[in-house]
Subunit: 114 residues, 2 copies
DNA sequence: CCGCCAATTGCGAAAGTTCGCAATTCGTGA
DNA sequence: TCACGAATTGCGAACTTTCGCAATTGGCGG
């Protein structure tokens, strides 16, 4: 049954999330399912590139796809991807505000530095 | 001031987390600061490899390092990395339990399939 | 049935990542 | 000062990922 250590799976998950187009897709799908066409017009990417990124997300079970007429509609597979994105946003905004704070301290001539 | 879109930053963050050794390091540091030596004995990696991964985490501001005598001690930089790891664990355990459920359904000869 | 549009897949070139070896830095004790 | 151990850095080879082009699939209207 050759099981994979949990930290390998976690790394894999993060690696799969580590592309701007895939992040964009997941963010857009947070507000509900969308056809490929709409994703395509919202994201700056070629159709073929989008398909490939969607395939990655599908294979890893983060999104589901179904045909509706001649279009294909994608949706988030589980509710918890959103948690992950939220945690990432939180960390980033905190980090960025920390940086700008540091920056303004560095630029602030009033700040006494010994 | 050439700012980076937030989704780029997010993708970058996930990409940086997408390596088993780096995940392992962050998990170990959740219980408090550790010297490189201890990380080295806990993780299956060469010293030089560990250094490189630590450098990645340092550059991206996820951990901090300081010398204490002849050893270097690493610590988590902000409390929110833990949130991210927790969200990942949650998603994975859910996903895995879903898989094993599906698997047993597939293997279960009693299950009627039309 | 045919042509068209939406989406996907196969494939090869380019770009990026990881790994270990050799060399370097830094601090400590002889 | 010298040798040593801890940790890091530079560098090149092996591997993985990404990208766009060309070809393919599947559904729909004429």
């Amino acid at each position: 049954m050759m099981s994979v250590p949990l930290y390998e799976a976690k790394a894999e998950l993060f690696r799969l999330l580590g592309h701007p187009v895939r992040i964009r897709v997941l963010e857009l799908l947070q507000d509900g399912p969308l056809p490929v066409r709409d994703l395509l017009s919202a994201i700056d990417v070629e159709p073929t590139g989008l398909s490939q990124h969607l395939a990655v997300l599908r294979r890893s079970g983060m999104v589901t796809a179904h045909r509706d007429g001649s279009t294909v509609v994608y949706a988030l597979a589980g509710g918890d991807v959103a948690d992950l994105l939220r945690a990432a946003r939180k960390l980033l905004t905190q980090k960025l505000s920390g940086q700008s704070q540091l920056l303004s301290e560095l630029l602030d001539t009033e700040t006494s530095v010994r």
